[in-house]
């Protein structure tokens, strides 16, 4: 085996320029794939983190039909106290859930005493909301983040604050319709300004749950939405199925399910972007495979063709066909290893370099997001194995051709 490796290495060294060109091609391919995977992966992970950790959570539960009419924020599709008790029982039994937060979503008239506009609000219990949405506090760009807000305070979305020229500490009035149609108004102090994010609820204001119940004159506990944070996002599929089964078992008098449950993927348009990124990654990997396959095959076909006489000689003096096959496959294998190793090293250095230079980018209205590309070793190993595997595969056909050559014909070849 060692001898075959040595022979193969010597033959690669014989055509130094060709070996170099082919390995550079493979190197470039590997670098392209690893950098793309790491940059797009970190972008994806960060965006998903932003979405799930500051607004959506990993899973959400609503009354059946709520999401279909979410634009009008209907109060009559809230989860009632009795239903909530059952849901909370189910959630408590689910080990993988870290925490969950309950919200009343409402629409209101917003007045700064001079002008009015519409505002959409999430009414939350601050400590529960902060526990389940660890990145939420970071969205408070003006005002005190600590504790989110207290009773009588409101967090205003950036756009409304700007449009209505309201500052932190100002007093404003909210007027809302109750479930029964009557109107109620209350004044609030602006506690802070919230940065907008992409996706549903990304431009909503935040108020205290108890204020909302007063404003809406809700006597019993009721909520529009339950957002769930899992200990590990990888468990989302399992928890989703488990909850869907348990919640689906709860039906109304007509036998229809009472609740609906969704993953963040179903709720956020970013999921499609994430899918697109995955698809692009796949395309780039296919390109890499094609590059490696074509370049290795090309080189190895040439190598076999140039060495017909030599193949005839070693076959005549007793080298078994299997060994001739191994010789050429090893050459392709070494070429693959060479290109992959250099490519991997360059990629890892480049990734470290990108982290060191703190590259930032903007996504929608979010600015100054820092790119922290990482790549897990499993991904590196996968790419390395694919490339080396393809290199072997690409040299297999030429190597077989060499192994099957009739020594006399090969020796006569000029």
């Amino acid at each position: 085996m060692l001898n075959i490796l040595k022979m193969a290495a010597k033959n690669l060294a014989r055509y130094r320029r060709r070996t170099l060109l082919t390995s550079i091609l493979i190197t470039l391919g590997v670098v392209a794939v690893l950098l793309f995977v790491s940059v797009s992966g970190s972008f994806k992970a960060m965006m998903i983190g932003q979405i799930t950790d500051s607004m959506l959570g990993h899973l959400q539960i609503h009354r059946k039909g709520y999401l279909a009419s979410i634009d009008s924020l209907p109060l009559n599709k809230n989860i009632t106290q009795k239903q909530l008790n059952k849901v909370e029982e189910i959630l408590a039994a689910e080990e993988a859930i870290e925490s969950y937060t309950m919200r009343i979503k409402l629409g209101a008239m917003f007045s700064n005493y001079a002008e009015t506009t519409n505002i959409r609000l999430n009414a939350v219990t601050p400590d529960r909301e902060l526990q389940s949405m660890p990145l939420l506090a970071d969205r408070v760009i003006k005002g005190e983040k600590e504790g989110l807000l207290a009773k009588g305070e409101i967090l205003l979305p950036e756009l409304i604050a700007k449009g209505m020229q309201v500052k932190v500490g100002d007093s404003i009035v909210l007027v809302a319709n109750n479930k029964d149609g009557s109107v109620n108004g209350q004044s609030f102090a602006v506690r802070g300004i919230l940065e907008g994010i992409t996706g549903p609820g990304g431009r909503d204001g935040i108020m205290h749950m108890e204020d909302a119940r007063e404003l809406l004159r809700i006597e019993e506990m009721e909520v529009s939405e339950i957002a769930i944070r899992l200990k590990n996002i990888d468990q989302m599929g399992v928890v989703f199925s488990s909850l869907q089964e348990k919640l689906g078992a709860m039906t109304n008098k007509e036998g229809k399910p009472v609740f609906e449950i969704h993953t963040w993927e179903k709720l956020s348009p970013f999921y499609n972007i994430a899918k697109m990124i995955d698809l692009m990654t796949l395309f780039i990997k296919i390109m890499l495979v094609a590059i490696v396959l074509v370049s290795i095959m090309n080189v190895m076909i040439m190598a076999v063709y140039e060495r017909v006489n030599e193949i005839g000689t070693i076959a005549a003096i007793g080298t078994r066909p299997g060994k001739i096959l191994a010789l050429f496959v090893t050459e392709g294998f070494l070429l693959g290893i060479l290109g992959t190793m250099v490519g991997t090293i360059i990629s890892l250095i480049a990734i470290a370099g990108m982290n060191a230079s703190k590259i930032t980018f903007d996504f929608g209205r979010q600015t100054g997001l820092q790119l922290t590309p990482t790549i897990d070793s499993a991904e590196v190993i996968t790419v390395v194995l694919i490339v080396i595997g393809i290199a072997v595969l690409g040299s297999l056909q030429p190597a077989l051709k060499a192994a099957r050559m009739d020594p006399i014909t090969a020796l006569r070849h000029v």
Partner: protein
């Protein structure tokens, strides 16, 4: 027991509708440690006969045993092993492996075919380098030595496996007369030293006078001559 024994050996090539009877009924017996030459004009069937004896090309019909083994029906691996262990080859174009040094070229069959341990390999390679007078050129690459030297290395490579039979198809065709004579002399010396049988082919009557047993081939048929003067050409 003869080393090579052929009875009614025939080889017919078929290309398209044309049949070429390259060897037509050859009977042949070669004893161990002989120094044999096949002489005949181009196209007479020398290579065909050597290839059959060398287990590179199966005969169309007839019997052929080499070193006691029937070699008419061997599969590829068995044939390769048989060649690697029993037969040495010397080619017209030397056919050394260009990426290997003189030393490595001679070592190649021990490494890739016979898989001998390193100390044994070293001993044998050095012995052969000495025997063919190439010890001082061991580190050179084939491109750095002359044709005659290349053929010496090729003979060493053929002998290093302790082959019983060395087949040389026109080994002197690419050498000038002087060098050719010296290579043939050297082969004969090797025969004396290692008791290896040599069969070489040539179309050059002046070269053949070095042989002890001469087979003249014409149109695929053999005629045997004992060369009483064999070896005393000088």
């Amino acid at each position: 027991m003869p080393l090579v024994e052929a009875k009614q050996l025939e080889k017919t090539y078929v290309s398209g509708d044309i049949e070429i009877k390259a060897i037509r009924g050859v009977d042949l017996t070669i004893e161990p440690a002989s120094f044999v030459s096949f002489i005949g004009p181009s196209g007479s069937g020398k290579s065909t006969l050597l290839n059959m004896i060398g287990c590179l090309d199966p005969p169309t019909s007839g019997q052929l045993t080499v070193a006691g083994q029937d070699i008419t029906k061997l599969d590829r691996n068995t044939a390769a092993d048989f060649r690697g262990n029993t037969i040495g080859f010397v080619f017209q174009d030397f056919n050394l492996i260009p990426v290997l040094t003189v030393y490595e070229n001679i070592e190649y069959p021990l490494l890739m075919v016979q898989k001998l341990p390193a100390p044994e390999r070293k001993k044998r390679v050095f012995a052969l380098l000495e025997a063919v007078g190439m010890a001082d050129q061991a580190a050179k690459y084939p491109s750095q030595i002359s044709g005659g030297q290349k053929q010496r290395v090729a003979v060493a490579r053929a002998l290093v496996t302790n082959a019983k039979l060395v087949l040389a198809d026109e080994p002197t065709a690419n050498l000038d007369r002087d060098t050719a004579n010296r290579v043939i002399d050297m082969m004969k010396q090797m025969r004396d030293e290692f008791q290896t049988t040599f069969i070489f082919s040539t179309h050059d009557p002046k070269i053949v006078k070095n042989a002890e047993i001469i087979y003249t081939i014409e149109d695929g048929k053999l005629q045997r001559t004992i060369n009483e003067n064999g070896g005393n050409h000088a």
